[in-house]
């Protein structure tokens, strides 16, 4: 008897026409939003097929964002762990300090093609909010950012940055007052202003076409890294590691490599106080499939299907869900998911700062902590590539508080 293989010939074909990656994804939104989402899908597929759109995007990515971001051999860290050769993809050097701008630029150009004049977005760490406010300023669109009250308190520099950029920052006081609630509020605002507004979702989640669209815009990370590694080492990397909030920086790095069987991929979820304590943000490791924010995916939820609060020192990872494509890749066994605690991430944050002279954001500090766990046991010719997707300037106040400094 022939065995039935679950392995598809390609991992890069999804989503299907209705926006599904296997079981995951879809368009679970109120009827009021449906026509808008269909319009975004249409505008995006037209843009994708238009060479002038890609040319315009490339222009801004190069001259405005500063791409390509360097591939950096982290020699001190490599020496420190004494195993695999550690490389950083330096998306923290982008304009505005994280990978978020790659996606915001793309979506702002789609919004402009649709004739929209107003941009809204949710934000957790404030990086997506800053990137959105930045492109809104650049393209002369008005901008409102929804942000949970807890995140406003722990990401003050970014709140001020958004205001300087001309955005209105609307504090969200419902629920856990973090990223999930900011997303609820942004969806409500969108329903209430359907004519002029474009919603720039900041990660590979939400209703179709967002997970695919955001992935496509972030894939510039993996495409560049592939070429750069080829140039530098004459071959592909062996292992990719990236932090997972909603999963956009990870998907951007992973997607161009998905069909390379030899490349191992690890997504690092936020373990908060430890997954066993229940206070964490590890949706795959500590959750199960459900429906929220327009898509079916792994979610943190109780026995009754109520969404539970996520907990992480990193505001950008403090989300009870994950993009649907990750859920599918998890079920397929193509990407491994692990978790790292707040404390481990803080240690990695400090180590990287001291050894490399690079202050990483708390989000990639999670990825870095996992690199620290595996690098020493890997052979010296193993190429370990981590996505350094954001810089830590925004986090210094939160870190100071945690370490007991008064600044």
């Amino acid at each position: 008897m022939q065995s039935v293989s679950a392995r598809p010939n390609t991992y890069r074909a999804g989503p299907d026409e209705e926006g599904y990656f296997g079981l995951y994804g879809g368009r679970y939104v109120a009827e009021t939003l449906m026509p808008l989402i269909l319009a975004v899908e249409k505008a995006y597929s037209q843009a994708k097929a238009d060479p002038s759109f890609q040319a315009e995007l490339d222009y801004y990515l190069r001259d405005y964002v500063g791409r390509p971001s360097p591939l950096y051999f982290a020699e001190p860290m490599t020496r420190h762990y004494g195993g695999a050769k550690i490389y950083f993809k330096r998306d923290e050097l982008n304009h505005t300090g994280a990978h978020k701008i790659n996606n915001c630029l793309g979506q702002a150009l789609v919004a402009r093609r649709m004739g929209k004049t107003r941009i809204i977005a949710e934000t957790g760490a404030g990086q997506h909010g800053v990137a959105t406010a930045t492109v809104a300023a650049r393209f002369g669109m008005s901008c409102t950012i929804y942000m949970g009250e807890i995140d406003i308190a722990r990401q003050k520099p970014n709140v001020f940055r958004m205001k300087l950029l001309g955005a209105e920052v609307k504090p969200v006081s419902s629920g856990s007052r973090t990223l999930k609630d900011a997303m609820n509020e942004a969806l409500r605002a969108w329903v209430s202003d359907v004519e002029d507004t474009f919603y720039i979702i900041g990660t590979v989640a939400g209703p179709h076409p967002y997970p695919a669209m955001v992935r496509d815009f972030q894939s510039v990370i993996g495409k560049e890294a592939r070429e750069q590694m080829q140039e530098r080492e004459g071959r592909l990397p062996d292992t990719l590691v990236a932090a997972i909030g909603g999963g956009s920086n990870a998907m951007g790095l992973f997607h161009p490599f998905l069909d390379e069987d030899a490349v191992r991929m690890i997504g690092v979820e936020a373990g908060g106080g430890g997954v066993e304590t229940g206070r964490h943000a590890a949706s795959i490791i500590g959750g199960r499939p459900g429906v929220l924010h327009g898509n079916r995916t792994y979610l943190l939820q109780d026995d009754d299907g109520q969404i539970t609060e996520a907990h992480s020192i990193s505001a950008g990872l403090d989300y009870p869900g994950i993009g649907p494509e990750h859920s599918w890749l998890h079920d397929q066994g193509r990407v491994e998911f692990v978790s790292v605690t707040d404390t481990e991430a803080l240690d990695a944050f400090q180590l990287c700062t001291r050894l490399e002279g690079i202050i990483p954001a708390l989000e990639p500090s999670h990825a870095l902590a996992h690199v620290g766990k595996i690098a020493g046991d890997l052979p010296k010719d193993h190429l370990l590539l981590m996505n350094l997707c954001g810089r830590g300037d925004k986090d210094i106040f939160a870190v100071a508080e945690r370490l007991g400094f008064d600044i």
Partner: protein, 278 residues
């Protein structure tokens, strides 16, 4: 004939529109909520929507969101909502009962099991806000098998291209959401509602219920002149919130106050066409 169809036939025979009332199950707690529910038909509710609370009600405004959080805090679960429905049905065999909420609790409960258990609890229909026609087959198919009607929503953004898709497979009645927005925020102009109802009537034989933004007997009556039913939610839920003391406990007047408000809405709806004819 289903209980919903029977009720609309009766309303039509009486030459009037119906009043649909919404409360969240378990708000402010399970026993007070059950008492309000039991009192609604006598107060004049012709159909009842019972909200299944959800932690993240993306299509609702602050009033109904707060009601859901009160209910969850009081220990409401989907299982308990179904038990409450069954309790209601023991005392009332004629008033249609429709569950309204979001998909995740149903998905978590098990969709087929939900459909079967809802029907055996005496529930007639279900409205799931985040299941547009494109994705509702996963609920609609087991619901149809179990005998549960899936009610679809049309909105001001549902254009003529999209409307056939919304109507294809729609059961019970069509719920027209009068505003582009969340519950309990804006109000629609009555002229726009009249035009929308006329447009929908031209495409479907289903009764049309209109909701979102109806807050008092006057606006309920105004809508009742054109639609087959007026739906009131946030304004009733606000009455519940108003009847709570500083610690969030229900005061002694709460139930009576909510039901007399419903009675005033019912009087508005019942008088609407008579008044219009004079």
């Amino acid at each position: 004939m289903s209980r919903i169809a029977r009720r609309f036939a009766k309303l039509s025979a009486e030459g009037r529109a119906g009043l649909v009332t919404f409360i969240t199950a378990g708000d402010p707690d399970l026993s007070v909520s059950a008492e309000i529910l039991a009192g609604l038909p006598k107060a004049g509710a012709d159909l009842i929507e019972l909200g299944m609370p959800f932690s993240d009600p993306m299509a609702d405004g602050p009033s109904i969101e707060a009601a859901g959080h009160r209910a969850l805090k009081a220990g409401t679960t989907l299982r308990r909502v179904l038990a409450m429905a069954a309790g209601f049905r023991k005392g009332d065999t004629e008033t249609p009962l429709i569950l309204m909420g979001y998909f995740n609790p149903i998905y978590s409960y098990g969709v087929e099991r939900f459909a079967v258990d809802a029907v055996s609890a005496g529930v007639d229909g279900v409205i799931v806000v985040d299941l547009p026609p494109e994705v509702d087959a996963e609920l609609r198919v087991p619901a149809v098998v179990a005998g549960l009607e899936v009610i679809r929503l049309a909105t001001p953004t549902t254009d003529s291209v999209r409307l056939p898709r919304v109507l294809d497979g729609a059961g019970g009645f069509l719920y027209y959401v009068a505003i582009a927005g969340v519950t309990g925020t804006k109000r629609a102009a009555i002229g726009d509602i009249a035009a929308a109802v006329a447009r929908l009537k031209a495409s479907t034989a289903l009764p049309i219920a209109v909701g979102f933004g109806i807050r008092d007997p006057e606006s309920a009556a105004a809508v009742a002149r054109y639609a087959d039913a007026s739906v009131v939610g946030s304004a009733i839920v606000d009455r519940i919130a108003h009847g709570l003391d500083e610690t969030g406990k229900p005061g002694p007047a709460l139930i009576g106050d909510v039901l007399s408000f419903v009675a005033s809405l019912a009087a508005g709806v019942r008088g609407a066409r008579v008044q219009a004819a004079q």
